[in-house]
């Protein structure tokens, strides 16, 4: 076996063990450099790379070589190509070439009732033409614009997947399917009602906000499904608005739909990875209600308290202040890594990561990050690893069944399950149904993922 293959296997087993709550051979180290930071490191032009991701491949190679973490560097889902085609308001490229999110509001308070009844359709009919100016046009032009944008969206992600596969082969990364989705309240707040709008809504129409979150929950569960059936996989959910709410508003508006979402995704055999943004120390008891082995990446707060309260049930990550890598000395950076490892690593449910991704390469981060990765790789070896967890004994989780039920109840005139489609197309009688079903379903799902991606 080549070194790279052995490394891939070691990493695969490390992650499998951690995700199953077992002690791995050593602490997995997440890559912490954002795509922007990688581009800066390679001295390339931000806008040029984002517009042409083939240029990212040598950049990733360089970064993966120089900063050998256990997961590949870079990646984004915000490409200027489709945002440009759509005339995006929620995401615009700044003069420096960085994708930015201004305050936007695609949904009016009057839209709540329609939205609650049929969220997917209301997004397509009313909300997106407001968020994406090029869709505010006649039906033919709109159809063509959407076709171009979805093509761009598909191309970008396909390219990223190809690059990803080559990086895996070359650097021996683990191969674990992943997906991403959004918490229902955040989805409603971010692009639809806006940060400011939602703050009024929770006081003016509290019941509608709750109903809208409930209506969104199945859709955002479906969005978090893994791209391929798998016994293991990770779905990331960044958390935005929770800490900006009073505890009693958090409990009323934010938490119930998120909890439901995490529970169902877990039932689907997925390790949900929550990016617990900002300070969640008020909500540790809430977090403790989540299913075992949910991954919690913290930004701020008290690692000791988190370890005590959550460390034996959840996989903890984050907390390492990325600013220290920029501004600190090598010694300070290593001391901090040691301090966090000593608190969080015992028991094995721990992944090394920073409190947030590095957005650029200013200060001493190049040297410091290299030193920290090297340190964690050595210091993070466990002397009491568990047996390699054997996935083959696990049953296949009922993900398909759960999602099929969601799809059957979407109440959309734009989303059709295969059964619905089949019923409307008698001409398919006697054709190779299984093959056709696969294709039709995939196209519907690609469209669904594209549409939901535009909403967050």
């Amino acid at each position: 076996m080549t070194d790279v293959k052995a490394l891939a296997q070691e990493r695969q087993q490390m992650f499998v063990n951690v995700y199953r709550g077992k002690i791995p051979t050593r602490i997995p180290i997440n890559s912490i450099l954002s795509l922007e930071a990688c581009i800066e490191y390679a001295g390339a032009n931000q806008a040029e790379v984002l517009w042409d991701m083939t240029k990212a491949e040598p950049i990733f190679e360089k970064v993966n070589t120089d900063f050998p973490a256990d997961t590949p560097a870079g990646g984004t889902r915000r490409y200027p190509s489709f945002y440009q085609i759509l005339g995006s308001r929620p995401f615009v490229m700044s003069s420096e070439g960085v994708m930015q999110h201004p305050n936007v509001q695609g949904m009016e308070p009057e839209d709540y009732d329609d939205f609650i009844a049929a969220p997917y359709d209301t997004m397509i009919e009313k909300i997106y033409p407001r968020l994406y100016t090029e869709l505010d046009t006649d039906p033919n032009t709109k159809a063509l614009i959407l076709a171009k944008a979805m093509r761009a969206h598909g191309d970008e992600f396909a390219l990223l997947a190809q690059i990803g596969a080559r990086m895996r082969a070359k650097f021996g990364f683990a191969s674990i399917p992943s997906s991403a989705t959004t918490a229902p309240f955040d989805f409603l707040a971010d692009f639809l009602r806006s940060f400011t709008g939602i703050c009024s809504d929770i006081r003016r129409y509290p019941d509608k906000v709750i109903a809208a979150c409930e209506a969104l929950t199945p859709i955002l569960i479906k969005k978090g499904k893994l791209p391929v059936p798998s016994k293991i996989g990770v779905t990331s959910i960044p958390l935005h608005m929770g800490p900006y709410l009073r505890t009693k508003d958090f409990e009323k508006f934010y938490w119930p739909s998120l909890k439901k979402q995490v529970e169902v995704l877990t039932e689907m055999g997925i390790n949900v990875s929550l990016f617990v943004e900002h300070d969640f120390m008020r909500f540790l008891d809430h977090l403790s209600e989540l299913p075992e082995n949910t991954i919690l990446r913290f930004e701020y707060g008290d690692p000791k308290l988190v370890s005590e309260k959550l460390g034996s049930k959840f996989i903890i990550s984050g907390f390492y202040p990325v600013m220290l890598l920029h501004t600190g000395t090598k010694e300070q950076c290593i001391d901090k890594a040691k301090e966090l490892i000593d608190i969080l690593a015992p028991g094995g449910r721990y992944i090394f990561n920073t409190d947030k991704g590095a957005m650029d390469m200013h200060g001493n981060i190049t040297e410091n990050l290299k030193a920290v990765i090297e340190f964690v790789r050595e210091y993070g070896k466990y002397d009491n690893p568990d047996e390699p967890y054997d996935l083959s004994k696990d049953p296949m989780p009922p993900a398909e069944k759960i999602v099929a039920e969601i799809e059957a109840n979407l109440n959309s005139k734009y989303y059709q399950t295969w059964e619905q489609y089949r019923a409307n197309h008698p001409e398919l009688e006697g054709r190779p149904q299984e093959v056709i079903a696969k294709k039709i379903k995939k196209l519907e799902d690609d469209m669904f993922n594209f549409i939901i991606n535009l909403g967050s």
Partner: protein, 216 residues
Amino acid sequence: MDRLLLLTQAISDLDEEKVFQILDELIAENPSDEEVQEIVAACQRGMIIVGELFDSDDYYVADLIFAGELMSKAVEVLKPIICSRKKDTIGTIVLGTVKGDLHDIGKNIFKGMAETEGFEVHDLGIDVEPDVFVAKVKQIEPQIVAMSAVLTIALNSMKNTVDALKKAGLREKVKIIIGGNPVTEDSCKRIGADAFTTIAGEGVDICKKWIVNSIA
């Protein structure tokens, strides 16, 4: 007037219905100039309590934002009376969130409070280029330039804006105040502004003092 206390209380409780019920009642009674001033002051006292509740962790950002919304709605309701009564505005402010920064909630709270105090506020919006500040200052010759920023990197834009005003020979003609969570005494000095604050009401008081002093 007990109802003014109730108004302050309703604002600080973020009780929208109550706020506008009291305001409607008060306005229906056709208040004198002095009484209108008292109503405005009562609203602002409510906002100050909101700020305190925020500092003590009883309120969070979402509550602050809704308080800002209440305040600007109150300003809308009171504006017609204030405008029809006031012979002159007490002063003019050019306001904006500086280049690179798209946040405007704090800026809008300041704007609402400044307007209720009788300032004419020219709001340039968000992501405002230094040149746009300069052009507006040339055009309307305000007494005050007010800048807002919440991104730490936008503090540089504040400095660039002050430098641009200097270059255009306008710096000595205006007072400059900066606001937003990251501003500090240090950054104020570095930027070359005359005053800084992270409390909108305090900012309005500073502006009023400047106007009074310049007349005296």
